[in-house]
């Protein structure tokens, strides 16, 4: 009950601050703005056309370097072969026309390099079918579409000997909505964005929108959280206030830790309000329910928890809210700097290793600055990893469909156990020092 009382008191203190209402107002504004974003599904023809020419796959492989190379090669081969697959026509087998939830038979024309090759494929289409299957493989693997069958079309509309028509029977999945090309607009369709034939899948658009909103929004929310909560502990430690708390039958460390948890709860509620709101309105507006996105709530709260642990220690040492804000923000910038420099060096070292550059010629490997950054990175909280994780979660929701899939294609694989462990240990160290000082301090 005592602990709950301190949490409740922190919340009361936060509610007394007008900044909280400004933050909630801003969050509500962003949620409402996101709610006005509409996606008008484009005809099925557009999506299958983009799948046929391979341009849609690029969006889903944006973080896969090896796939990017493959796409580049494919594009080169397309220049030689014209279009490998060209949409001819499509018909709806079941469901509404132009809906991502419908079942289609899509006829693609495949162009061969010679009439002989086309004639051979006509008599034995297995190789050509395998080629089409390969073309659809990534989309199918990511669960964005199911292919029921691929067969040589009974009608061959073009008499030209170098082209053959194939019927691809597609079945919708829960991910097909993400694949579907749609035209975005804001303010409930009042302000359309992009061309009418906007060949960008809705999943990618949602990823860009949410990643932008969450990146900026979380930065603002955490900064505002750091500022508001920086007053909590100095206010508690004010002469005449702290005395009244210290004479209560509660341990000093418990008093401090629950005050910390109180600040954390306040920011958690704020973040939860914003993220849940975005998740809800996007789900209602687009039908894409980005469940992994909800994991951003604990991730961003943990990020704030790192900053607030620093603020708590500084507050106990100085009793100054201004010092807490400045040092917390300075530390935030420091972590960002260390993370960025470390990442830069690691990427360059990987390039040097891949290119087998001799050790004596390597600039990035065993570089003193890189070594310092690595040493600092080893002991400091990994806030850049948390940013990375946030982005990956959104990517998994709107692009790959699952976090494990997203992790598979991660350009910068992170040892999450180590990353979270180091960050959590840092928080424990900061709070431990704060409690130790608070425990021994005279008031």
């Amino acid at each position: 009950m005592r602990n709950f009382a301190i949490l409740k008191d922190s919340l009361r203190e936060a509610l007394d601050s007008t900044v909280l209402y400004i933050m909630l107002g801003l969050s509500a504004f962003v949620v409402l703005l996101v709610a006005t974003v509409s996606f008008e599904n484009l005809p099925a023809q557009t999506t299958f056309d983009k799948i046929g020419d391979g341009s849609i796959q690029v969006f889903f492989d944006v973080l896969r370097p090896e796939k990017a190379d493959e796409h580049a090669k494919k594009r080169l081969s397309q220049n030689v072969q014209a279009n490998l697959l060209q949409l001819d026509k499509l018909r709806v087998l079941s469901g509404a026309a132009d809906s991502p939830d419908s079942e289609y038979v899509v006829t693609f024309q495949m162009r061969f390099s010679s009439e002989e090759e086309a004639a051979e494929a006509r008599s034995n289409p297995a190789d050509a079918v395998a080629l089409i299957e390969k073309h659809f493989k990534d989309i199918v693997d990511l669960g964005l579409l199911k292919i029921a069958s691929i067969r040589l079309a009974t009608e061959q509309p073009n008499a030209e000997g170098r082209r053959l028509a194939f019927d691809v029977h597609t079945l919708p999945t829960s991910g097909t909505r993400r694949l579907w090309c749609a035209r975005p607009s804001v303010f409930f369709g009042w302000l359309p964005i992009g061309e009418e034939n906007w060949g960008v899948p809705v999943g990618f658009q949602l990823y860009v929108v949410t990643n932008t909103v969450v990146s900026i929004g979380s930065w603002v929310a955490i900064l505002a959280g750091v500022i508001i909560t920086s007053f909590f502990i100095p206010n508690m430690l004010r002469k005449g206030t702290v005395d009244l708390l210290l004479v209560k039958p509660i341990h000093r460390w418990a008093l401090l830790l629950y005050k910390y948890v109180g600040g954390l709860t306040f920011v958690f509620l704020n973040i939860a309000f914003a993220i849940f709101g975005i998740w809800l309105v996007l789900g209602l507006r687009t039908g894409v329910w980005a469940h992994t996105c909800l994991l951003l709530i604990p991730v961003l709260t943990f990020f704030f928890g790192i900053m607030y642990s620093i603020s708590t220690l500084v507050s106990v040492l100085t009793r100054s809210a201004v010092a807490s804000i400045l040092i917390s923000c300075g530390a935030w910038f420091g972590f960002f700097l260390v993370g960025t420099v470390h990442r830069l060096f690691q990427d360059q070292i990987r390039v040097e290793e891949t290119r087998n550059i001799p050790m004596e010629k390597r600039k990035w490997t065993d570089n003193p600055i890189g070594n310092v950054a690595s040493a600092l990175h080893a002991v400091l909280p990994r806030t850049s990893d948390l940013n990375h994780l946030s982005s990956r979660m959104l990517y998994s929701d709107f692009m790959t469909g699952s976090l494990s899939e997203a992790n598979k294609i991660d350009l910068r694989p992170v040892d999450w156990n180590e990353s979270m462990g180091v960050s959590a240990l840092f928080v424990v160290l900061m709070l431990g020092l704060a409690c130790w000082r608070f425990q021994a301090k005279d008031f």
Partner: protein, 317 residues
């Protein structure tokens, strides 16, 4: 009577400053003890040590039979600090509810006790108003209420009537006397010596971290060997007779102050006056006010310190 507060050779340094230099005192259950001293004498430090707010002390300090500062003991203690600052986002009711929870009072106990205590200090009409709108006197009353909320066995009050108007002061004084009647032990720090004189059983005077005088008020304010004598109207004091017998006598208003030397008694004076057929209308042993006693004691203490300083300086020289 059991000792509620015991300190023995209690010392506390703030870096190079010696705040307490071996303070020893005992406060018995049910007593109202007043701790007097100039600013910086160490009064608040002593209270804070007993309550566990200040640490790193040496010597012995016990409260309610426990070493000072333990968590368990704090359940039975009420405290009103000097210069208290209540979080102004609370109302009187919510603040007491918060403190009540920290003190481990159940919801039912809080619902029952909070209005009672606020009623006692006259804050019920404003109990749901934010504290930031309170006057200094109201905050002081709230401070008293929070110190009494959990019905503690011992209450420490640091300047309890600070900022309170005379009517409020009397009300607070009555509350304290009521608590004393209930058997509660009170430890009071105050500069308002008239208040202390009215309610305290015993006082101690701290000066520069030392307890320089302690005792019950009656004894401390008593002036040994000084009597006031008044004769019936129109009668003359036989000054020459008294002075010839070695008594020092001087007029004090309409009366006379007789100052006795060691081994002198007032009885021969009375016998002489009666023998001369004079009517004694007034005879009382003279007392000082607490304030006079305090100022005198502090001045003597300062002289003592100055001489001590002199001796030290000479020693160094």
């Amino acid at each position: 009577m059991a000792a509620i507060i015991t300190t023995n050779d209690l010392k506390k340094n703030y870096r190079r400053i010696e705040a307490l230099r071996g303070v020893s005192l005992v406060v018995q259950a049910g007593e109202i003890y007043g701790l007097l001293g100039q600013n910086g004498a160490g009064k608040t430090t002593l209270i804070k040590i007993l309550l566990g707010i200040t640490r790193g002390w040496r010597g012995q300090a016990e409260l309610l039979g426990h070493t000072a500062g333990t968590v368990a003991m704090r359940r039975r203690v009420g405290y009103l600090p000097e210069d208290h600052h209540f979080p102004d986002y609370h109302t009187a009711f919510s603040l007491l509810d918060f403190y009540g929870q920290l003190l481990g009072l159940s919801r039912a106990q809080r619902r029952q006790r909070i209005p009672v205590e606020l009623e006692r200090v006259g804050l019920v009409p404003r109990m749901h108003t934010k504290i930031r709108g309170y006057s200094k006197g109201m905050k002081q009353r709230l401070g008293i209420a929070q110190a009494l909320l959990h019905d503690p066995d011992v209450i420490f009050l640091d300047e309890p009537t600070d900022g309170v108007d005379p009517v409020g002061r009397r009300e607070i004084r009555n509350i304290l006397l009521e608590l004393k009647d209930k058997g509660c032990t009170l430890f009071l720090n105050s500069h308002l010596l008239s208040e202390v004189e009215l309610i305290c059983d015993r006082v101690g005077i701290l000066q520069q971290g030392r307890m320089i005088r302690e005792g019950d008020i009656k004894t401390l304010t008593q002036q040994k060997g000084r009597f006031l004598i008044g004769l019936a109207q129109g009668q003359l004091m036989p000054l020459a007779d008294l002075q010839s017998r070695g008594y020092r006598i001087a007029p004090l208003g309409e009366r006379w102050e007789v100052q006795l030397e060691e081994q002198q008694s007032i009885d021969p004076v009375v016998d002489l006056l009666r023998g001369l057929g004079l009517s004694i209308r007034h005879l009382v042993e003279k007392r000082q006010s607490l304030e006079d006693m305090f100022v005198e004691t502090v001045q003597e203490g300062n002289k003592g310190n100055a001489s001590l300083l002199d001796l030290r300086e000479r020693g160094r020289g």
